[in-house]
Symmetry: C2
Subunit: 244 residues, 2 copies
């Protein structure tokens, strides 16, 4: 019987794509960890760091990004509740990008060594973590496609679809109503567009009734219409099959 359920979001996420026994779940919950808060804007890891811990998102929004010589920024991923960040820490020499809190954030820090030991002695958990890593990689590939080949309208719509599906998968609501605490500048940095153009495209999407903007959240009146505009197919997220 584990002493804490702090890591439950992580367990839930791992169990999404593969079966975990109660024993496996308990083993994960028993990982040594400390809960750390970060205020919006603060860094969780910085480029060049060699962190000895991996971080598990408990609440809030975080992103990975790189900043270029000219000061422009590219966001590489968003992370929400349940996401394990850098499970593989300390295998590589250093972080080649930064991770930053976008809202106030709670993370659990787990010694990388403990994660690796657990994975080494438990094949089911190892497999589950592998699968999460592969999905992260798949998401990265879709981002290359998004930024490389889709026009601004599809690109933004696609990002919103992804976030909505992932939030739903994390048990944070339904896909029709996306909690979105990001500024338009952050959306621009994720999509490779300018802040001004993001603003215009959002207005267009709203005028087309593809989305309704409310404070810190976005409502999608017609999910099918949105996914069509986005050319979004959720395959790359390897979602759990709907039973309906």
């Amino acid at each position: 019987m584990p002493g804490s359920t702090v890591l439950m979001p992580f367990v839930d996420k791992l169990a999404t794509h593969t079966a975990l026994s109660q024993r496996d779940r308990d083993a994960i919950l028993e990982l040594p960890h400390s809960v750390v808060r970060r205020a919006a804007g603060r860094y969780i890891f910085r480029e060049g760091d060699k962190p000895a811990h991996c971080a598990i998102m408990l609440s809030g929004y975080a992103c990975r990004h790189k900043i270029l010589a000219d000061g422009s920024r590219q966001i590489l991923a968003f992370h929400i509740r349940g996401d394990g960040m850098d499970l593989q820490n300390a295998l590589l020499v250093h972080m080649d990008h930064s991770i930053q809190a976008l809202t106030d954030v709670q993370t659990a820090l787990v010694p990388a060594e403990a994660v690796r030991e657990l994975a080494a002695e438990n094949p089911a958990i190892s497999r589950a973590m592998w699968i999460e890593t592969l999905i992260d990689s798949s998401i990265q590939r879709e981002w290359i496609v998004n930024v490389g080949r889709r026009d601004a309208r599809s690109r933004i719509a696609h990002l919103l679809c992804e976030l909505a599906i992932r939030q739903e998968g994390a048990g944070l609501g339904t896909r029709d109503l996306l909690f979105l605490p990001l500024t338009q500048e952050q959306l621009a940095d994720a999509t490779g567009l300018s802040l001004v153009h993001v603003n215009r495209v959002l207005k267009t999407l709203a005028s087309e009734a593809l989305l309704v903007r409310e404070r810190h959240q976005v409502r999608f009146p017609s999910w099918p219409a949105l996914t069509q505009a986005a050319q979004f197919t959720p395959d790359y997220l390897h979602p759990v099959q709907n039973t309906v």
Copy 2:
């Protein structure tokens, strides 16, 4: 003493970032495998496949790509000698993209099961394969940056730098002379640009003496000038430290 040295390029690549004993190396060389040739343009894996093998590049150029609804294409990665493709096969349900031979190619097909068993019983090899996976992931992130935030000139130059460094790392020559059997259309699909614009930028780069085009290869008269134009820093490839 292994019966075959076919997989040696793979061993060499794995050994780049971590120490492998002679016993480890032999264990890899003894993996069951069959050598398969593919003519230029043929597919190695297709989107939707669930291959039971992973493929190790022995010679030639291959790429990963996705094709969008409107027929446009985004190349996600290039693969050369020594690259292990989808070591993790059969963990996910299906391929969410395709792998295609760009030149005549030789690959070794290894049953995914054999790879996983070897990794499970040999921590050093497991670690080495993990590291390669992490570097692949790091390359993907840099591609997001490249396509998202760099202008056409830097973008193309950056891709050329990456290919040159990787080819050098695979023991296929020096960074000053890149063997490049890609068409300009393939460069366009990798950089998210149009064929016509790739052509113009290549001409510009040549006129600036940043590169000299020769048949199926490109010479870089000044590596420092090229990397500066590309804003290229090789960190993300996690190259072996130069001893000079």
